[in-house]
Protein backbone atom coordinates (compact mmCIF):
# COMPACT_ATOMS: atom_id res chain seq x y z
CA UNK A 1 0.00 0.00 0.00
CA UNK A 2 1.11 3.47 -0.81
CA UNK A 3 2.21 5.64 2.09
CA UNK A 4 2.29 9.38 2.42
CA UNK A 5 2.74 11.42 -0.72
CA UNK A 6 3.13 15.09 -1.61
CA UNK A 7 2.04 17.36 -4.40
CA UNK A 8 5.04 19.57 -4.92
CA UNK A 9 5.89 22.34 -7.38
CA UNK A 10 9.43 21.44 -8.33
CA UNK A 11 11.98 23.66 -10.04
CA UNK A 12 14.06 22.20 -12.84
CA UNK A 13 17.77 22.41 -12.03
CA UNK A 14 19.10 21.01 -15.28
CA UNK A 15 18.42 18.55 -18.07
CA UNK A 16 21.05 16.61 -19.93
CA UNK A 17 20.99 14.32 -22.91
CA UNK A 18 22.24 11.04 -21.47
CA UNK A 19 21.87 8.81 -24.54
CA UNK A 20 20.00 8.87 -27.84
CA UNK A 21 16.67 10.65 -27.20
CA UNK A 22 17.19 9.90 -23.49
CA UNK A 23 17.26 12.71 -20.98
CA UNK A 24 17.88 13.06 -17.28
CA UNK A 25 16.25 16.04 -15.59
CA UNK A 26 17.09 17.03 -12.04
CA UNK A 27 14.47 18.83 -9.99
CA UNK A 28 14.41 20.43 -6.57
CA UNK A 29 11.84 18.46 -4.66
CA UNK A 30 12.59 18.63 -0.94
CA UNK A 31 9.38 17.00 0.28
CA UNK A 32 9.42 13.92 -1.92
CA UNK A 33 13.15 13.13 -1.88
CA UNK A 34 13.50 12.09 1.79
CA UNK A 35 10.74 9.48 1.68
CA UNK A 36 11.02 7.94 -1.76
CA UNK A 37 11.99 4.27 -2.15
CA UNK A 38 13.49 2.50 -5.14
CA UNK A 39 10.82 1.44 -7.61
CA UNK A 40 8.35 4.13 -6.58
CA UNK A 41 7.27 6.72 -9.11
CA UNK A 42 6.12 10.30 -9.41
CA UNK A 43 3.30 11.68 -11.53
CA UNK A 44 4.57 14.74 -13.40
CA UNK A 45 2.27 17.42 -14.71
CA UNK A 46 2.56 20.87 -16.22
CA UNK A 47 1.45 24.23 -14.92
CA UNK A 48 -0.80 26.44 -17.04
CA UNK A 49 -1.51 24.18 -19.97
CA UNK A 50 -4.12 21.63 -20.98
CA UNK A 51 -1.75 19.95 -23.43
CA UNK A 52 -0.75 17.41 -22.26
CA UNK A 53 -3.71 17.10 -19.94
CA UNK A 54 -2.92 14.13 -17.74
CA UNK A 55 0.16 13.66 -15.59
CA UNK A 56 2.89 11.26 -16.75
CA UNK A 57 4.38 8.55 -14.56
CA UNK A 58 8.15 8.39 -14.16
CA UNK A 59 10.12 6.04 -11.96
CA UNK A 60 12.28 8.01 -9.60
CA UNK A 61 15.77 7.76 -11.05
CA UNK A 62 17.66 9.20 -8.14
CA UNK A 63 16.90 11.09 -4.95
CA UNK A 64 19.51 12.75 -2.78
CA UNK A 65 19.67 15.91 -0.72
CA UNK A 66 16.74 17.90 -2.06
CA UNK A 67 17.24 16.76 -5.66
CA UNK A 68 15.12 14.24 -7.48
CA UNK A 69 15.89 13.08 -10.98
CA UNK A 70 13.90 11.39 -13.69
CA UNK A 71 15.19 9.62 -16.77
CA UNK A 72 13.02 9.51 -19.85
CA UNK A 73 13.02 8.81 -23.53
CA UNK A 74 11.54 11.71 -25.49
CA UNK A 75 8.91 9.83 -27.49
CA UNK A 76 5.71 11.79 -27.13
CA UNK A 77 4.10 15.03 -26.15
CA UNK A 78 4.87 14.82 -22.45
CA UNK A 79 8.49 13.79 -22.62
CA UNK A 80 9.36 16.09 -25.50
CA UNK A 81 7.89 18.97 -23.61
CA UNK A 82 9.78 18.19 -20.39
CA UNK A 83 13.04 17.86 -22.29
CA UNK A 84 12.56 21.36 -23.71
CA UNK A 85 12.01 23.14 -20.39
CA UNK A 86 14.66 25.54 -19.18
CA UNK A 87 16.30 25.48 -15.75
CA UNK A 88 14.11 27.51 -13.43
CA UNK A 89 10.88 26.39 -15.07
CA UNK A 90 8.50 24.35 -12.96
CA UNK A 91 6.77 21.01 -13.01
CA UNK A 92 4.26 19.61 -10.57
CA UNK A 93 5.29 16.35 -8.95
CA UNK A 94 2.92 14.03 -7.14
CA UNK A 95 4.74 11.40 -5.16
CA UNK A 96 6.24 9.22 -4.10
CA UNK A 97 3.55 6.87 -5.37
CA UNK A 98 3.11 3.13 -5.49
CA UNK A 99 4.89 0.19 -4.00
CA UNK A 100 8.55 -0.19 -4.94
CA UNK A 101 10.99 -3.06 -4.80
CA UNK A 102 11.27 -5.09 -1.63
CA UNK A 103 13.75 -3.94 1.01
CA UNK A 104 17.25 -5.08 0.26
CA UNK A 105 19.20 -6.87 2.95
CA UNK A 106 22.88 -7.06 3.83
CA UNK A 107 24.81 -9.65 1.88
CA UNK A 108 22.00 -10.59 -0.49
CA UNK A 109 22.71 -10.90 -4.19
CA UNK A 110 20.26 -9.19 -6.48
CA UNK A 111 20.25 -9.22 -10.24
CA UNK A 112 18.50 -6.39 -11.96
CA UNK A 113 17.40 -6.45 -15.59
CA UNK A 114 16.62 -3.09 -17.14
CA UNK A 115 15.71 -2.09 -20.67
CA UNK A 116 14.91 1.18 -22.40
CA UNK A 117 13.53 3.81 -20.05
CA UNK A 118 13.43 1.11 -17.37
CA UNK A 119 17.09 1.99 -16.82
CA UNK A 120 15.74 4.91 -14.79
CA UNK A 121 15.91 2.77 -11.66
CA UNK A 122 19.65 2.04 -11.88
CA UNK A 123 20.90 5.02 -9.84
CA UNK A 124 18.33 4.82 -7.06
CA UNK A 125 18.73 1.06 -6.71
CA UNK A 126 22.52 1.37 -6.59
CA UNK A 127 22.19 3.97 -3.90
CA UNK A 128 19.87 1.94 -1.72
CA UNK A 129 21.84 -1.27 -2.25
CA UNK A 130 24.91 0.63 -1.10
CA UNK A 131 23.10 1.67 2.07
CA UNK A 132 21.65 -1.77 2.70
CA UNK A 133 24.87 -3.60 1.88
CA UNK A 134 23.42 -5.85 -0.81
CA UNK A 135 25.24 -6.88 -3.95
CA UNK A 136 23.70 -5.71 -7.21
CA UNK A 137 24.43 -6.84 -10.72
CA UNK A 138 22.80 -4.92 -13.55
CA UNK A 139 21.86 -6.39 -16.90
CA UNK A 140 21.10 -3.51 -19.19
CA UNK A 141 19.62 -3.99 -22.63
CA UNK A 142 18.92 -1.63 -25.50
CA UNK A 143 18.42 -1.75 -29.22
CA UNK A 144 21.80 -0.21 -29.87
CA UNK A 145 24.88 1.17 -28.10
CA UNK A 146 23.81 4.76 -28.67
CA UNK A 147 20.77 4.18 -26.47
CA UNK A 148 22.72 2.99 -23.42
CA UNK A 149 23.08 5.57 -20.68
CA UNK A 150 26.61 5.44 -19.19
CA UNK A 151 25.77 5.40 -15.47
CA UNK A 152 28.51 6.15 -12.98
CA UNK A 153 27.92 3.31 -10.58
CA UNK A 154 30.22 0.82 -8.98
CA UNK A 155 27.97 -2.22 -9.40
CA UNK A 156 28.79 -4.78 -12.07
CA UNK A 157 26.88 -3.99 -15.26
CA UNK A 158 26.52 -6.25 -18.26
CA UNK A 159 25.13 -4.85 -21.49
CA UNK A 160 23.21 -6.44 -24.30
CA UNK A 161 22.17 -4.85 -27.56
CA UNK A 162 19.89 -6.12 -30.28
CA UNK A 163 22.33 -5.05 -32.96
CA UNK A 164 25.46 -6.20 -31.12
CA UNK A 165 27.03 -2.73 -31.02
CA UNK A 166 27.78 -3.11 -27.30
CA UNK A 167 28.04 -6.10 -24.96
CA UNK A 168 26.13 -9.28 -25.63
CA UNK A 169 24.50 -9.51 -29.05
CA UNK A 170 20.93 -10.40 -28.23
CA UNK A 171 18.36 -9.77 -25.57
CA UNK A 172 19.05 -9.22 -21.93
CA UNK A 173 17.09 -12.21 -20.66
CA UNK A 174 19.13 -14.58 -22.81
CA UNK A 175 22.27 -13.03 -21.40
CA UNK A 176 21.00 -13.51 -17.86
CA UNK A 177 20.14 -17.12 -18.61
CA UNK A 178 23.71 -17.70 -19.71
CA UNK A 179 25.16 -16.10 -16.61
CA UNK A 180 22.71 -17.88 -14.34
CA UNK A 181 24.41 -21.16 -15.22
CA UNK A 182 27.23 -20.31 -12.86
CA UNK A 183 25.42 -18.34 -10.15
CA UNK A 184 22.19 -18.09 -8.19
CA UNK A 185 21.02 -14.65 -7.06
CA UNK A 186 18.71 -14.27 -4.05
CA UNK A 187 16.31 -12.08 -5.99
CA UNK A 188 15.77 -10.82 -9.51
CA UNK A 189 14.32 -7.40 -10.31
CA UNK A 190 13.11 -6.25 -13.70
CA UNK A 191 12.09 -2.91 -15.16
CA UNK A 192 11.59 -2.39 -18.86
CA UNK A 193 9.41 -3.21 -21.83
CA UNK A 194 6.58 -5.67 -21.25
CA UNK A 195 8.01 -8.41 -23.52
CA UNK A 196 11.14 -8.39 -21.35
CA UNK A 197 9.06 -8.75 -18.20
CA UNK A 198 6.98 -11.54 -19.71
CA UNK A 199 10.10 -13.42 -20.58
CA UNK A 200 11.59 -12.88 -17.09
CA UNK A 201 8.42 -14.17 -15.51
CA UNK A 202 8.61 -17.28 -17.64
CA UNK A 203 12.33 -17.91 -17.24
CA UNK A 204 12.98 -17.03 -13.60
CA UNK A 205 9.61 -16.44 -12.00
CA UNK A 206 9.15 -19.96 -10.71
CA UNK A 207 12.60 -20.56 -9.31
CA UNK A 208 13.96 -17.26 -8.04
CA UNK A 209 12.00 -14.58 -6.18
CA UNK A 210 11.38 -12.20 -9.08
CA UNK A 211 10.00 -8.67 -8.82
CA UNK A 212 8.82 -6.86 -11.89
CA UNK A 213 7.96 -3.20 -12.35
CA UNK A 214 5.03 -3.12 -14.78
CA UNK A 215 3.98 -0.27 -17.03
CA UNK A 216 0.31 0.31 -17.80
CA UNK A 217 -1.53 3.38 -18.98
CA UNK A 218 -2.34 5.49 -15.91
CA UNK A 219 -4.62 8.49 -15.58
CA UNK A 220 -4.06 9.37 -11.93
CA UNK A 221 -1.40 7.24 -10.27
CA UNK A 222 -3.22 7.45 -6.94
CA UNK A 223 -5.96 4.84 -7.04
CA UNK A 224 -8.64 7.37 -8.01
CA UNK A 225 -9.54 6.18 -11.52
CA UNK A 226 -9.23 2.37 -11.59
CA UNK A 227 -7.52 2.81 -14.93
CA UNK A 228 -4.43 0.64 -14.37
CA UNK A 229 -5.54 -2.96 -13.79
CA UNK A 230 -3.01 -5.78 -13.65
CA UNK A 231 -4.42 -9.28 -13.64
CA UNK A 232 -3.99 -11.21 -10.40
CA UNK A 233 -2.68 -14.65 -11.10
CA UNK A 234 -5.30 -17.40 -10.99
CA UNK A 235 -8.12 -14.98 -10.31
CA UNK A 236 -10.67 -12.98 -12.25
CA UNK A 237 -9.77 -9.88 -10.29
CA UNK A 238 -7.20 -7.15 -10.83
CA UNK A 239 -4.55 -5.31 -8.89
CA UNK A 240 -4.03 -1.61 -9.49
CA UNK A 241 -0.58 -0.93 -10.90
CA UNK A 242 -0.41 2.47 -9.25
CA UNK A 243 -1.11 1.36 -5.70
CA UNK A 244 -0.50 -2.36 -5.44
CA UNK A 245 2.42 -1.95 -7.86
CA UNK A 246 4.08 -0.91 -10.07
CA UNK A 247 6.42 -3.56 -8.61
CA UNK A 248 4.83 -6.97 -8.20
CA UNK A 249 6.19 -10.34 -7.25
CA UNK A 250 6.08 -12.11 -10.58
CA UNK A 251 4.03 -15.01 -9.18
CA UNK A 252 1.25 -12.62 -8.20
CA UNK A 253 0.39 -11.41 -11.66
CA UNK A 254 -0.49 -12.54 -15.16
CA UNK A 255 0.31 -10.59 -18.29
CA UNK A 256 -2.62 -10.41 -20.67
CA UNK A 257 -1.72 -11.90 -23.98
CA UNK A 258 -3.12 -9.83 -26.87
CA UNK A 259 -5.39 -11.86 -29.11
Amino acid sequence: MAGKSFLETAVILDTRLAAERTYISRLRSPQIVPIVEAGQFVMVSFQDTLDPLLPRAFSVCDATGDTLSILYVAVGRGTRKISGLFPGEKLILNGPLGTGFPRMERGKNIWVAVGGSGAAIVPILSRSAGKAGSELRFFYGARSKSQLVPFEISAYTAHATDDGTAGFHGNIVDLMKLELKGAEPDMVFGCGPTPMLVSMQKEFGNRIPTYLSVETPMACGMGFCQGCPVKRSGDADYYLACKDGPVFRSTEIEFEVKP
Binding site: P217, M222, C225, Q226, C228, P229
Partner: protein, 315 residues
Protein backbone atom coordinates in the same frame (compact mmCIF):
# COMPACT_ATOMS: atom_id res chain seq x y z
CA UNK B 1 -16.91 35.06 3.41
CA UNK B 2 -19.63 34.89 0.77
CA UNK B 3 -22.54 32.50 1.05
CA UNK B 4 -22.02 29.58 -1.31
CA UNK B 5 -24.86 27.40 -0.08
CA UNK B 6 -27.00 25.65 -2.66
CA UNK B 7 -29.95 23.27 -2.36
CA UNK B 8 -30.83 20.09 -4.20
CA UNK B 9 -34.16 18.75 -2.99
CA UNK B 10 -34.08 18.85 0.80
CA UNK B 11 -30.35 18.75 0.86
CA UNK B 12 -28.33 21.86 1.55
CA UNK B 13 -24.73 21.80 0.36
CA UNK B 14 -22.26 24.23 1.90
CA UNK B 15 -21.01 24.98 -1.59
CA UNK B 16 -21.62 23.74 -5.13
CA UNK B 17 -18.43 21.64 -5.45
CA UNK B 18 -18.97 17.90 -5.61
CA UNK B 19 -16.65 15.16 -6.76
CA UNK B 20 -17.75 13.26 -9.87
CA UNK B 21 -18.47 9.59 -9.55
CA UNK B 22 -15.54 7.33 -10.33
CA UNK B 23 -12.90 9.99 -10.21
CA UNK B 24 -11.74 9.79 -6.60
CA UNK B 25 -12.27 6.17 -5.72
CA UNK B 26 -14.84 6.12 -2.92
CA UNK B 27 -13.85 9.58 -1.76
CA UNK B 28 -11.62 8.32 1.03
CA UNK B 29 -8.59 8.56 -1.27
CA UNK B 30 -8.82 12.35 -1.33
CA UNK B 31 -7.74 12.85 2.25
CA UNK B 32 -4.03 12.76 1.40
CA UNK B 33 -4.47 15.86 -0.74
CA UNK B 34 -6.95 18.15 1.01
CA UNK B 35 -9.52 18.40 3.76
CA UNK B 36 -12.45 16.53 2.28
CA UNK B 37 -14.95 18.36 4.44
CA UNK B 38 -14.51 21.55 2.40
CA UNK B 39 -16.52 19.94 -0.43
CA UNK B 40 -20.22 20.41 -0.92
CA UNK B 41 -20.51 16.65 -1.36
CA UNK B 42 -18.56 13.55 -2.23
CA UNK B 43 -20.15 11.29 -4.84
CA UNK B 44 -19.09 7.66 -4.64
CA UNK B 45 -17.85 5.49 -7.49
CA UNK B 46 -20.86 3.79 -9.12
CA UNK B 47 -21.87 0.98 -6.79
CA UNK B 48 -23.41 -2.27 -7.92
CA UNK B 49 -25.15 -4.97 -5.90
CA UNK B 50 -22.23 -7.36 -6.28
CA UNK B 51 -18.57 -6.36 -6.57
CA UNK B 52 -17.42 -5.96 -10.17
CA UNK B 53 -13.91 -6.49 -11.51
CA UNK B 54 -14.44 -4.22 -14.47
CA UNK B 55 -13.14 -4.28 -18.01
CA UNK B 56 -9.88 -5.62 -19.31
CA UNK B 57 -7.05 -3.16 -19.89
CA UNK B 58 -6.29 -0.80 -21.48
CA UNK B 59 -8.94 1.21 -19.70
CA UNK B 60 -7.68 4.78 -20.10
CA UNK B 61 -6.10 6.82 -22.88
CA UNK B 62 -5.30 10.49 -23.25
CA UNK B 63 -6.71 12.50 -26.15
CA UNK B 64 -6.61 16.22 -26.93
CA UNK B 65 -7.82 18.09 -23.83
CA UNK B 66 -9.46 14.96 -22.54
CA UNK B 67 -9.32 11.28 -21.82
CA UNK B 68 -11.18 8.15 -22.74
CA UNK B 69 -12.07 5.63 -20.09
CA UNK B 70 -13.72 2.29 -20.00
CA UNK B 71 -13.48 1.13 -16.43
CA UNK B 72 -16.56 -1.05 -16.70
CA UNK B 73 -17.87 -0.08 -13.27
CA UNK B 74 -15.12 -1.87 -11.37
CA UNK B 75 -16.18 -1.47 -7.74
CA UNK B 76 -16.21 -3.19 -4.37
CA UNK B 77 -19.99 -3.55 -4.25
CA UNK B 78 -22.52 -1.71 -2.16
CA UNK B 79 -22.08 -3.91 0.93
CA UNK B 80 -18.37 -3.25 1.36
CA UNK B 81 -18.92 0.44 0.55
CA UNK B 82 -21.38 0.68 3.42
CA UNK B 83 -19.27 -1.34 5.82
CA UNK B 84 -15.81 -0.01 5.06
CA UNK B 85 -16.00 3.32 3.26
CA UNK B 86 -18.92 5.14 4.87
CA UNK B 87 -17.29 5.15 8.33
CA UNK B 88 -14.12 6.68 6.85
CA UNK B 89 -16.09 9.31 4.94
CA UNK B 90 -18.05 10.13 8.08
CA UNK B 91 -14.87 10.67 9.96
CA UNK B 92 -13.58 12.95 7.21
CA UNK B 93 -16.71 15.06 7.55
CA UNK B 94 -17.81 14.41 3.97
CA UNK B 95 -21.40 14.75 2.91
CA UNK B 96 -22.06 11.49 1.06
CA UNK B 97 -24.02 11.01 -2.14
CA UNK B 98 -24.01 7.41 -3.33
CA UNK B 99 -23.96 6.75 -7.04
CA UNK B 100 -25.48 3.47 -8.19
CA UNK B 101 -25.56 1.47 -11.40
CA UNK B 102 -27.19 -1.78 -12.42
CA UNK B 103 -28.15 -3.87 -15.37
CA UNK B 104 -31.66 -4.58 -14.18
CA UNK B 105 -34.39 -2.27 -13.00
CA UNK B 106 -34.95 -4.33 -9.82
CA UNK B 107 -31.32 -3.95 -8.89
CA UNK B 108 -31.59 -0.15 -8.88
CA UNK B 109 -34.45 -0.53 -6.44
CA UNK B 110 -32.57 -2.96 -4.19
CA UNK B 111 -29.52 -0.69 -4.15
CA UNK B 112 -31.65 2.33 -3.33
CA UNK B 113 -33.36 0.49 -0.49
CA UNK B 114 -30.07 -0.57 1.04
CA UNK B 115 -28.56 2.90 0.83
CA UNK B 116 -31.73 4.59 2.11
CA UNK B 117 -31.16 2.71 5.34
CA UNK B 118 -27.81 4.42 5.95
CA UNK B 119 -28.10 7.70 7.83
CA UNK B 120 -24.81 8.87 6.33
CA UNK B 121 -26.03 8.59 2.77
CA UNK B 122 -27.69 11.95 2.16
CA UNK B 123 -28.48 11.53 -1.48
CA UNK B 124 -28.49 9.12 -4.37
CA UNK B 125 -27.27 9.66 -7.91
CA UNK B 126 -28.59 7.18 -10.47
CA UNK B 127 -26.05 6.38 -13.14
CA UNK B 128 -28.31 5.57 -16.08
CA UNK B 129 -25.66 6.50 -18.50
CA UNK B 130 -22.45 4.56 -18.30
CA UNK B 131 -21.34 4.11 -21.88
CA UNK B 132 -18.98 1.26 -21.06
CA UNK B 133 -21.09 -1.68 -19.98
CA UNK B 134 -22.62 -4.05 -22.43
CA UNK B 135 -26.14 -4.41 -21.12
CA UNK B 136 -28.22 -1.81 -19.37
CA UNK B 137 -26.05 1.22 -18.86
CA UNK B 138 -26.41 3.47 -21.80
CA UNK B 139 -29.48 1.70 -23.10
CA UNK B 140 -31.35 2.77 -19.98
CA UNK B 141 -30.19 6.30 -20.51
CA UNK B 142 -31.18 6.55 -24.16
CA UNK B 143 -34.74 5.33 -23.73
CA UNK B 144 -37.06 7.79 -22.01
CA UNK B 145 -39.57 5.16 -20.89
CA UNK B 146 -37.02 2.97 -19.15
CA UNK B 147 -35.59 6.02 -17.46
CA UNK B 148 -39.01 7.10 -16.23
CA UNK B 149 -39.71 3.64 -14.92
CA UNK B 150 -36.47 3.38 -12.95
CA UNK B 151 -36.84 6.84 -11.46
CA UNK B 152 -40.44 6.13 -10.46
CA UNK B 153 -39.56 2.87 -8.72
CA UNK B 154 -36.48 4.24 -6.99
CA UNK B 155 -38.38 7.34 -5.88
CA UNK B 156 -40.79 5.08 -3.98
CA UNK B 157 -38.08 3.58 -1.82
CA UNK B 158 -35.67 6.51 -1.53
CA UNK B 159 -37.08 9.62 0.15
CA UNK B 160 -33.87 11.63 0.45
CA UNK B 161 -32.36 13.68 -2.38
CA UNK B 162 -32.54 11.78 -5.65
CA UNK B 163 -30.42 12.84 -8.62
CA UNK B 164 -30.51 11.31 -12.09
CA UNK B 165 -27.29 11.40 -14.07
CA UNK B 166 -28.03 11.71 -17.77
CA UNK B 167 -26.13 10.57 -20.80
CA UNK B 168 -25.19 13.29 -23.29
CA UNK B 169 -25.28 10.84 -26.20
CA UNK B 170 -28.83 11.67 -27.24
CA UNK B 171 -30.48 14.11 -29.60
CA UNK B 172 -32.59 15.93 -27.04
CA UNK B 173 -31.34 15.57 -23.49
CA UNK B 174 -34.12 17.89 -22.25
CA UNK B 175 -36.66 15.11 -22.80
CA UNK B 176 -34.78 12.85 -20.41
CA UNK B 177 -34.41 15.61 -17.84
CA UNK B 178 -38.11 16.36 -18.00
CA UNK B 179 -38.96 12.69 -17.60
CA UNK B 180 -36.77 12.49 -14.50
CA UNK B 181 -38.42 15.60 -13.11
CA UNK B 182 -41.88 14.24 -13.84
CA UNK B 183 -41.14 11.11 -11.82
CA UNK B 184 -40.03 13.11 -8.83
CA UNK B 185 -36.25 13.39 -9.15
CA UNK B 186 -34.78 16.25 -7.12
CA UNK B 187 -32.06 17.05 -9.63
CA UNK B 188 -30.36 15.93 -12.82
CA UNK B 189 -26.66 15.66 -13.50
CA UNK B 190 -25.65 16.83 -16.97
CA UNK B 191 -23.80 14.79 -18.09
CA UNK B 192 -21.88 11.55 -18.11
CA UNK B 193 -19.13 10.92 -20.67
CA UNK B 194 -19.39 11.06 -24.46
CA UNK B 195 -18.85 7.96 -26.57
CA UNK B 196 -15.39 8.39 -28.05
CA UNK B 197 -12.56 6.44 -29.56
CA UNK B 198 -8.85 6.55 -30.32
CA UNK B 199 -6.65 4.21 -32.32
CA UNK B 200 -2.92 3.55 -32.06
CA UNK B 201 -1.88 3.95 -35.68
CA UNK B 202 1.25 1.83 -35.16
CA UNK B 203 -0.51 -1.26 -33.83
CA UNK B 204 -3.82 -0.41 -35.55
CA UNK B 205 -5.59 -1.36 -32.31
CA UNK B 206 -8.04 0.74 -30.37
CA UNK B 207 -6.43 2.48 -27.39
CA UNK B 208 -9.22 1.19 -25.16
CA UNK B 209 -10.04 -2.49 -24.84
CA UNK B 210 -13.75 -1.94 -25.41
CA UNK B 211 -12.90 0.00 -28.61
CA UNK B 212 -15.09 2.95 -27.66
CA UNK B 213 -14.82 4.61 -24.25
CA UNK B 214 -16.19 7.64 -22.45
CA UNK B 215 -14.70 11.03 -23.22
CA UNK B 216 -14.24 13.45 -20.33
CA UNK B 217 -12.17 16.55 -19.65
CA UNK B 218 -12.04 20.14 -20.95
CA UNK B 219 -12.75 18.93 -24.49
CA UNK B 220 -16.39 18.27 -23.60
CA UNK B 221 -17.03 21.43 -21.62
CA UNK B 222 -18.60 23.54 -24.40
CA UNK B 223 -20.96 20.71 -25.41
CA UNK B 224 -21.97 20.02 -21.84
CA UNK B 225 -22.33 23.78 -21.24
CA UNK B 226 -24.92 23.95 -24.02
CA UNK B 227 -26.75 20.97 -22.55
CA UNK B 228 -26.72 22.43 -19.04
CA UNK B 229 -28.16 25.64 -20.45
CA UNK B 230 -30.84 23.82 -22.44
CA UNK B 231 -31.83 21.49 -19.60
CA UNK B 232 -31.97 24.32 -17.08
CA UNK B 233 -34.45 26.10 -19.35
CA UNK B 234 -36.59 22.94 -19.58
CA UNK B 235 -36.88 21.79 -15.97
CA UNK B 236 -37.29 23.53 -12.67
CA UNK B 237 -35.28 21.10 -10.55
CA UNK B 238 -31.58 21.82 -10.01
CA UNK B 239 -29.08 20.88 -12.67
CA UNK B 240 -25.68 19.57 -11.61
CA UNK B 241 -23.02 20.20 -14.24
CA UNK B 242 -20.33 17.61 -14.94
CA UNK B 243 -17.86 17.92 -17.75
CA UNK B 244 -14.40 19.36 -18.10
CA UNK B 245 -14.16 21.62 -15.09
CA UNK B 246 -10.49 22.54 -14.65
CA UNK B 247 -10.60 26.08 -13.24
CA UNK B 248 -12.77 28.13 -10.91
CA UNK B 249 -13.84 30.09 -13.99
CA UNK B 250 -15.33 26.89 -15.40
CA UNK B 251 -17.41 26.46 -12.24
CA UNK B 252 -18.72 30.02 -12.44
CA UNK B 253 -19.45 29.59 -16.16
CA UNK B 254 -21.60 26.51 -15.51
CA UNK B 255 -23.47 28.26 -12.73
CA UNK B 256 -24.18 31.27 -14.94
CA UNK B 257 -25.35 28.84 -17.64
CA UNK B 258 -27.89 27.37 -15.22
CA UNK B 259 -26.19 24.84 -12.95
CA UNK B 260 -26.92 24.76 -9.23
CA UNK B 261 -23.92 22.61 -8.40
CA UNK B 262 -20.98 21.07 -10.26
CA UNK B 263 -18.97 17.87 -10.21
CA UNK B 264 -15.20 17.76 -10.57
CA UNK B 265 -13.87 14.69 -12.35
CA UNK B 266 -10.82 14.35 -14.58
CA UNK B 267 -9.23 17.40 -12.94
CA UNK B 268 -8.65 15.35 -9.78
CA UNK B 269 -6.29 13.05 -11.68
CA UNK B 270 -3.99 15.94 -12.53
CA UNK B 271 -4.48 18.28 -9.58
CA UNK B 272 -5.93 16.27 -6.70
CA UNK B 273 -5.70 19.32 -4.44
CA UNK B 274 -7.65 21.56 -6.83
CA UNK B 275 -10.93 21.92 -4.88
CA UNK B 276 -9.49 24.36 -2.35
CA UNK B 277 -8.16 26.60 -5.12
CA UNK B 278 -11.46 26.45 -7.00
CA UNK B 279 -13.35 27.55 -3.90
CA UNK B 280 -10.92 30.38 -3.30
CA UNK B 281 -11.26 31.59 -6.88
CA UNK B 282 -15.04 31.60 -6.69
CA UNK B 283 -14.91 33.44 -3.37
CA UNK B 284 -12.69 36.16 -4.81
CA UNK B 285 -14.84 36.51 -7.91
CA UNK B 286 -17.90 36.95 -5.70
CA UNK B 287 -16.11 39.41 -3.43
CA UNK B 288 -14.81 41.49 -6.39
CA UNK B 289 -18.29 41.73 -7.81
CA UNK B 290 -20.05 42.09 -4.48
CA UNK B 291 -22.12 38.98 -5.02
CA UNK B 292 -23.36 37.92 -1.62
CA UNK B 293 -25.09 34.66 -2.39
CA UNK B 294 -23.81 32.26 -5.00
CA UNK B 295 -27.36 31.11 -5.61
CA UNK B 296 -28.10 34.52 -7.13
CA UNK B 297 -25.72 33.68 -9.99
CA UNK B 298 -27.52 30.49 -11.02
CA UNK B 299 -28.78 30.82 -14.58
CA UNK B 300 -27.72 34.46 -14.63
CA UNK B 301 -26.65 34.41 -18.28
CA UNK B 302 -27.65 37.54 -20.20
CA UNK B 303 -29.08 36.47 -23.50
CA UNK B 304 -31.82 37.10 -25.96
CA UNK B 305 -33.99 34.06 -26.52
CA UNK B 306 -34.64 35.08 -30.11
CA UNK B 307 -30.98 34.70 -30.94
CA UNK B 308 -30.81 31.00 -30.05
CA UNK B 309 -31.57 28.76 -33.03
CA UNK B 310 -32.50 25.77 -30.90
CA UNK B 311 -34.97 27.64 -28.81
CA UNK B 312 -36.90 28.57 -31.90
CA UNK B 313 -37.29 25.11 -33.32
CA UNK B 314 -40.62 24.32 -31.88
CA UNK B 315 -42.17 27.70 -32.41
Amino acid sequence: MPDMKVRIGDLELKNPLMTASGTCGYGDELKGYFDTSILGAVVSKSLTLEPKVGNEPPRVAEVACGMLNSIGLANIGVRRFMDEKIPILDELGALIIANIAAKRVEDYVSLAEMLAASKSVRGLELNLSCPNVKEGGIEFGTDVKTLSNIVKLVRKVFKKTLIVKLTPNVTRIEEFASAAEAEGADGVTVANTYVGMAIDIYTMSPKIHTVTGGLSGPAVKPITMAKVFQVSKSVSIPVIASGGIFTWQDVVEYIIAGATAVEIGTLLFTKPDAPGRLLKGIEEYMADRKIERLSSLIGGIRFDRDNVPHMNHHK
